[in-house]
Subunit: 343 residues, 2 copies
DNA sequence: GTGAAAGCGCTAACAT
DNA sequence: ATGTTAGCGCTTTCAC
């Protein structure tokens, strides 16, 4: 038994009922007599029935629409990569009757609000979105919840949704990882203090950064009695012109944002300082190749958004379950393996 | 135009011919009059026809069989992971009418020969295999080539096959990467020599190891005038008992195989020595967590074999192209991110 | 050379 | 409550 893949028809024959009845039993659509149900269930116990997802999908075929509410490409290379992942999924899935509609927003509240409203009003079959300003825009998220369509959240998680997947990182963990890598590079945490820098922060992202910082600190406080760790924040380049003052006895710098490239001119003067930053944006890649940055942690926005779309489409096409969360490991990127990660 | 996804039927209507004719034109099956062909081609130029892969697959459905000629699980944890990836794909693909047949071999020539012959004689629809002893068994590989079925090669590539994908690593590159990571850890290549160890080598794998070694050497020779690099090979544990003699002024050890855990007792005595090894097998993981090993490079056998099967099934189900090669980046694993990679 | 039609496995509307 | 049937888009067989 269990060799052949049984079909609904097989089961109907074995249970001596009609295909319709079998279907009703399997999908619990009711309107079946106990007697018939028992007969079918008996057969189902015997064999290992797996519905043919391809047939199911073919039947249901109704050109699914997935909306993507994501920051505009102009918002930075990170979001460009994110868009690339979505685009890749779009091309692959077109042949399966999935199409995408984009709702790109610039990161001001009004624009996000506008785009999300537009998306909500379009009765889509699923939605991928990067949720920002959740508090002031509660009413919108409530509306979204009421739609009861599957949602994929990128970067920031939201709760209270029935069918929702979160695609993102464990920020604290990546901070810890940065700690260990830094530790390896500065050779056992001894001499010199460390700098954690939150560069070019945009509103709404600060909790992520704090988590990274905490992880970084946690690593060192667990391993060494005390390592001196100083924190610097800034949302513009001007703030870091007087950075020089801080760099005298610094052994390593951990930048929690994608802006490590802003330090380039400083780092040239201090080649011994070990540096870890985030994200494979062109200017960082350049810095990595030139050696002013030692390690980049890649949060892999392309893969995340790609998986976001495929998770949704697996649900739409094959009624596969939507997992609660998909956490992606960060890639550790140095100049010797950077090529594996770009294109 | 191009909004809706056009079907064969649509085209037939537009071209005022039958669906059969359209199909014949698209698939170049001949037996079409020039006149009819032109009409169809004209329509095809106008619209963007994308055949519905799901329908195609449903129609063709004929329980495809994929054979897997891979080392037995007893051959080591690496192959066990490999088997897990295949198993994962098997479970996922069962519902699409793909089934697998396993031909596990123990790594002696006779057994491999036997299993591969068996696989060849079973008229499978596709084959995944780990090719070893290609020279002495040329006749078998010639036979395999003649079968003209799609093949996925794991770990070692073979040439002259029409539909074949190679899934594996760029070994030299991973050696270079190990070089850079070592460089980072020993702080700029200065004091102390380095050891490259080929531990527990099995026949047939030595070119891989040499490539890794070369990459490692290349990194250092390009960066520093001269770094002293010593090489040690062994195919049994006994050879490394006198290792102690070599360890006096060693700064780092790079083990090109998965056997770095064999060094555990030695490393305890020299905690300052930095170590890089391969593969997430339990004893290595333990060593990593305990700190006697600093970095493990994960060649990701599970993902490789999984992708091997899915590449083949994408071809069988959806007639998607088979790429020439899929090279996987190695994961850089330290104790702080090991959890991301196990289970 | 061409069109008509069956059928892959499933769902859902429609009879009974 | 249950059985029958049409049809998703494609391939393939079979008449003509």
């Amino acid at each position: 038994m269990a060799k052949k893949n049984h079909t609904l028809k097989d089961i109907a024959v074995l249970a001596k009922v009609s295909r319709g009845t079998v279907d009703r039993v399997i999908h619990k659509r009711g309107r079946v007599s106990d007697e018939a149900r028992k007969k079918v269930e008996q057969v189902l116990d015997q064999i290992d029935y797996r519905p043919n997802l391809i047939a199911k999908s073919l039947k249901k075929h109704k050109n699914h629409m997935i909306g993507a509410v994501i920051p505009k490409k102009e918002e930075g290379e990170y979001w460009q990569q994110c868009a690339r992942g979505i685009r890749k999924a779009e091309i692959e899935l077109r042949q399966f009757g999935i199409s995408l509609i984009y709702f790109p927003f610039s990161s001001i509240q009004e624009d996000f609000e506008k785009q999300l409203s537009k998306a909500i009003s379009q009765d889509l079959d699923a939605l991928l979105l990067v949720p920002i300003y959740p508090e002031p825009l509660q009413h919108l998220f409530i509306k979204l919840r009421e739609l009861k369509i599957p949602v994929a959240f990128l970067n920031t998680n939201m709760h209270g949704f029935e069918q929702a997947v979160f695609l993102g990182q464990a920020n604290r963990k990546s901070g810890r990882l940065a700690g260990q890598l830094m530790d390896y590079m500065i050779n056992d945490g001894g001499q010199g203090k460390l700098l954690v820098m939150h560069l070019g922060i945009k509103s709404g992202h600060s909790t992520h950064l704090a988590e990274k910082e905490n992880g970084f600190r946690a690593y060192f406080s667990e391993k060494y009695a005390h390592t001196e760790i100083e924190v610097l924040s800034s949302d513009s380049t001007s703030d870091i012109t007087d950075l020089e003052l801080h760099l005298s006895d610094v052994a390593g710098i951990f930048v929690t944002t994608s802006k490590i490239h802003q330090l380039n001119s400083h780092l040239k003067l201090h080649p011994h300082i070990k540096t870890i930053g985030y994200d494979l944006i062109p200017r960082n890649i350049e810095s990595l190749k030139k050696g002013s940055v030692n390690i980049l942690l890649n949060q892999n926005p392309e893969l995340q958004s790609y998986k976001g779309i495929t998770t949704l489409s697996d649900f739409l096409l094959y009624t596969k379950d939507i997992p609660k969360r998909k956490l992606f490991p960060v890639d550790i990127v140095v100049s010797e393996n950077i090529d594996d990660f770009i294109q």
